[in-house]
């Protein structure tokens, strides 16, 4: 005790050395003042940032690129020339060029266009993300199946050398690069990879390419001439169904945007696509946006927070991929009317919700399909074509998205799918069949 203070005799025995003295008082006072900083900071942020969260539909500068702005009417997808520094896209047949509309990243000519056939069975490496969802599980399974079939045909040898990260909570691009370099050092001829970050992989892929190792990427684009990217057009994949839904609403209504894992290039491109489409519809008002991190339960939780503070009618939810089931679940659990959900990257669960609503009251929306099995099959085929010396004309092979509408919903909805079903959608439209892939190679007959 450093100073005497009046103390109740009843409390004295239990207080002993912990009685509040001047120093304690000062600390406690400081604690109250500092604790209040939460409210002050919140208020400050509200003043300077609150309005920033609402995207003005007309303020995005729609469809701007190096070759200028191409505006579109409400309900239509903007036409934007791709970044084509080598003229590789322009050299493709006209109908293929449409798939590159607004492609978000540079499309290079492939460094493997003049590669000769390996002349022996290839050693294959496989670098992949954790099997944390149905898509990833299907990709891994299909790659193993394709590898076994290729081995039987004498195209590959040995075992599929895998470097699959295990924990989505702790995985990093650095961890993947380390595994990728191990594959290179192990002497493989070709590496199939789905990069966690396409940009982070560029140096490693360049270095491997100079050693003659071919890299074939699925999903994200690696901006290296030594990578052959097999990917959906991330812009069209979001813009196409969003434009359709905007048209269904006659360009009027309230919109909520559910973003993915911000910082990923596909998310940035998809978000730009939403903004570009909405920019053409001045009567579509964006109420706000939430961060769903590409995880349906996270999307549901964040949407519940948003809905708790927005009682007004919501007409459209533009989610940036694979979170449709979380969006449907959020509205269902609150008993509110379900808006038109842009079901990009649809799942069996989201399509089951769509079907349930359609059956009940004629609900209509739009989405995009594709599943891990068919994508992995095309991915593996592309790699084998490169190794056979078929000569890829372009470093990125993409396609126009498989748009799901009321007309073809049944083609994508698995039989008996339930709202709680975590599975993937059915094939629906073929995803890069052999005849389609052949058009991207100089000598497709060699494979």
């Amino acid at each position: 005790m450093t100073r005497s203070e009046p103390v109740s005799p009843l409390l004295r025995p239990s207080l002993k050395g912990t009685l509040m003295n001047r120093a304690t008082y000062r600390r406690a006072r400081t604690r109250v003042v500092a604790s209040s900083t939460g409210v002050v900071l919140t208020a400050l942020l509200a003043g300077c940032g609150g309005s920033g969260g609402t995207v003005a539909a007309g303020a995005s500068g729609a469809a701007t690129d190096a070759e200028g702005t191409a505006s579109a009417a409400c309900g239509q997808v903007p036409t934007i020339a791709p970044k084509d520094p080598d003229g590789a896209v322009k050299a493709l047949p006209a109908d293929l060029q449409k798939a590159y509309n607004a492609y978000g990243e540079e499309v290079f000519a492939s460094a493997w266009q003049n590669k000769k056939a390996l002349g022996r069975a290839a050693k294959v490496g496989f670098s992949y993300l954790p099997a944390s969802n149905a898509f990833a599980g299907a990709v891994i399974k299909q790659v193993e199946t394709s590898f076994a079939a290729a081995k039987a045909d004498g195209l590959v040898q040995g075992k599929l050398v895998k470097r699959i990260m295990t924990d989505p909570a702790t995985m990093t691009p650095a961890e993947q690069i380390r595994g990728y370099n191990e594959l290179v050092d192990s002497g493989v001829d070709i590496i199939y990879i789905t990069p966690l970050s396409g940009d982070a992989m560029v140096s490693a892929v360049d270095a491997a390419g100079k050693k003659g190792v071919v890299t074939v990427a699925l999903g994200s684009t690696i901006r290296s001439k030594y990578a052959v990217n097999v990917a959906e057009n991330a812009y069209l994949n979001i813009a196409a169904p969003t434009a359709l839904v905007a048209g269904q609403l006659n360009g009027k209504g309230n919109v909520v945007i559910v973003r993915g894992f911000q910082g990923l290039s596909t998310e940035t491109i998809g978000y730009q696509a939403v903004k570009d489409v909405l920019a053409a519809c001045p009567d579509l008002k964006v109420l706000g946006q939430v961060n769903g991190a590409f995880v349906p339960p996270v999307a549901k939780a964040e949407l519940l927070k948003f809905l708790a503070s927005h009682p007004q009618q919501i007409d459209m939810v533009a989610q940036l991929g694979v979170m449709g089931s979380g969006v449907y679940a959020a509205f269902d659990s609150t008993g509110r009317d379900t808006p038109k959900v842009v079901d990009a990257g649809a799942s069996a669960s989201s399509l089951a919700s769509w079907k349930k609503l359609e059956t009940a009251d004629g609900y209509e929306t739009a989405g995009t399909g594709g599943n891990g099995t068919q994508e992995a099959k095309a991915w593996f085929t592309v790699g084998m074509m490169v190794m056979a010396g078929d000569g890829p004309k372009v470093g990125t092979i993409t396609r126009e998205p498989s748009v799901i509408t009321k007309a073809n919903l049944a083609d994508y909805l698995p039989a008996g799918a339930k709202v709680s079903d975590l599975g993937e959608v059915e094939d629906g439209e073929a995803w890069m069949p052999q005849s389609y892939l052949d058009q991207f190679f100089d000598n497709p007959s060699q494979s």
Partner: protein, 350 residues
Amino acid sequence: MMTTQQGSLDTAAPLAPDITAPAPPEGLSAAQRLLSLQRRFPLVQLLLTVAVLGWGAAAMPGFLDPTSLRSVLVLCALTGLASIGQTLVVLIRGIDLSLAGFIVAGAVTVTQFGDVPGVPLPVMLVLAVVCGGATGGLVGYLCHRFAIHPIIVTLAAGSIAVGVTAVLSGGGTGAGAPGWVVRLSAPMSSTFGLPVPPVVVIWGLAVVAVSVLLHRTRSGRRLLATGASPVAAELAHISTRKVWVTVYAVSAALAILAGVVLAGFAGNVDNRLGNPYLFQSIAAVVLGGTAFGGPGSYTRTTVGVLLLTTVSTVLVGLGFQEADQQILNGVVILAAMALYGRERRLRDQV
């Protein structure tokens, strides 16, 4: 009879509500009394929660509608249930990063193993809880026996839990949680006719149960004594190793059960389900004012959960960007850590 600075360890009563914080002496000014009260109860956090609620109500019409409040309460309950184990672990100067892994294990159990022929779901759940508890207990033993920091061991345990779950389930995706599990956390569901979602009622009961356990039982007092001073606790013949083993076992078992409830909320499960709750559980404990090794309580964590969720909901509603929210969350947690984390060292100097 053994005694510590926190009182008798062999008797369950009489005890103050928070035995690590003194009651205010008489003769103090009103301000001093308030500050003294703050030491025993997270008054500022509670007032902040009310203020943020008021702000949200003023800024957003309909924010305090019953439907909205039920949604927010469900989110609070989910985070609150996931934070029980973290609170107990922090009170013994530990931390539990395996939480996310065990949540996934519990969620997968209810979604994937609910229809195993001849094995009813309750049996599967008991098995999962026992296995999780055993793994958690092993974590506590390893940390204590070999003086390994819990960050390392619990991180590994979380990965193992996710991996083993994936192996046992064959990497399958399951068919979703049973209807009764889904209804537990549906904002529009009711409990015995009351318009309160069952998960909120469960959380309320958990708050009472954990508070009683911590502050009204011998086991709870041993736990608090272990956190306050492991050396003194050993001198008082408390087996701190047994406390560590028990606390980590309980934390893992509770995470398994939290995973069951979260599976119902999520509808379907993948192995990222638990990730958000790992950060939120730590943030809620810290925001509530529980320091590593105590003082603290689950009541504090409960208030931390309310504040965290309310602030987050208001920020989302007002259209803040993710980056804004992250900045604010970080600053508030740092402020809380600076204040409550400092208290322990100062108190130990007395």
